[in-house]
């Protein structure tokens, strides 16, 4: 299940053998993929940074409970996904708006975000993704942007590959329709 490197890190953390160094290795290995996974969900860099911190803290805290029945990265991605969803729910509640209104809010902020350098097409794509149901959104982001395999996504989201392919297919179709209707943005 685990790669040799992952096994080594996990054992060091579980057995408390130089855990700081082992944890740093883990952070170096996964900070970027986890960052992009979170960023695609939250859009904002500062929010992403906070959630990434929390994700690693939870990984360190609960590594002793990691049963090694799933792959380490899928376990970490699950934590990151849950942390991101919790963050979004809290933010919507704080602003007293619905989750869909929050998505619109995040997209509006994106246009003036110094850490967003996308062109009109990329902005339109983000708007199209924001219209998708939560599960389809996650599947599309992981497949299209992060290029994860269906098997890997299935492990992270704990759904069957069949359901996953169906989700991705529907997501792509909806995005195409959205972009066709919103052609003026791209022109």
């Amino acid at each position: 299940m685990l790669t040799d490197k992952e096994k080594e890190i996990v054992n060091k953390l579980k057995e408390n053998k130089n855990p700081d160094a082992a944890f740093q290795e883990l952070v170096n290995l996964y900070k970027e993929p986890l960052y992009w996974h979170i960023r695609n969900m939250l859009k904002d860099h500062e929010d992403t940074h906070d959630v990434l911190q929390n994700t690693f803290i939870k990984v360190f805290k609960y590594i002793k409970n990691f049963k090694e029945e799933s792959k380490l990265y899928s376990w970490m991605y699950r934590i990151a996904t849950n942390e991101s969803i919790t963050f979004l729910n809290k933010k919507a509640k704080k602003l007293n708006i619905s989750n869909q209104e929050l998505q619109d809010h995040l997209l509006n902020n994106l246009e003036s975000d110094t850490y967003f350098e996308g062109d009109k097409i990329q902005l339109a794509l983000q708007k199209a993704i924001a219209q998708l149901p939560e599960k389809q959104k996650q599947v599309f982001n992981m497949k299209y942007f992060q290029d994860l395999k269906y098997k890997e996504i299935a492990e992270i989201l704990e759904i069957s590959e069949g359901a996953l392919k169906s989700n991705y297919h529907h997501a792509v179709k909806k995005i195409k329709n959205f972009l066709d209707q919103d052609q003026t943005l791209i022109d």
Partner: protein
């Protein structure tokens, strides 16, 4: 997961501050404190004897030879006993209800005037008995004792207790 996953397949338009990933660190100090607090709560300070867990055994109680248990009540006996008990119970309730009816009918025949007279008589009897008690108790006045008291002493006592004099005058 391969290293290539670190690079996004398609451009999202998102970017990070310069050297963000190079400088990225998990905020360890506060985080370590939190972990240490948790560990402290686990480490309660209790100790166990040396090799306690290595030598730990669950001592199951040995099965004792049990004598034959004879039931006091068989199903046959229980049915007989219950039948007898039921007869007694029914008899008791019938007797009790009959007694209550008789008593009620007797009470109905009482003349209200006679009842009133009886109550009044009881009342006076009680009062009279109270009076008797007061006379027969320790508060009784002995004539010999009264005569033995010096008259001057009585007058002195009364002069000291003006309230008593007022009461006597009234």
């Amino acid at each position: 997961m391969s290293k290539k996953k670190h690079i996004l397949k398609h451009k999202t338009g998102f970017k990070t501050p310069e050297n963000y990933f190079e400088d990225f660190q998990v905020n360890m100090p506060s985080f370590r404190e939190e972990i240490e607090i948790e560990n402290k709560s686990i480490d309660s300070g209790f100790k166990v004897p040396q090799n306690y867990f290595e030598n730990f055994k669950v001592e199951l109680p040995q099965e004792n030879k049990k004598g034959k248990v004879i039931s006091l009540f068989s199903v046959k006996n229980i049915s007989k006993v219950s039948a007898i008990a039921a007869i007694f119970l029914i008899g008791f309730f019938v007797f009790k209800s009959q007694f209550a009816i008789n008593q009620f009918s007797n009470e109905v025949d009482i003349n209200p005037i006679a009842l009133e007279e009886q109550l009044e008589k009881d009342y006076f009897d009680i009062e009279f008995r109270d009076f008797d008690v007061s006379l027969n108790g320790n508060n009784t006045v002995d004539e010999k004792e009264l005569k033995s008291i010096d008259e001057d002493a009585i007058l002195d006592y009364l002069s000291e207790n003006a309230e008593l004099i007022t009461l006597i005058e009234e």
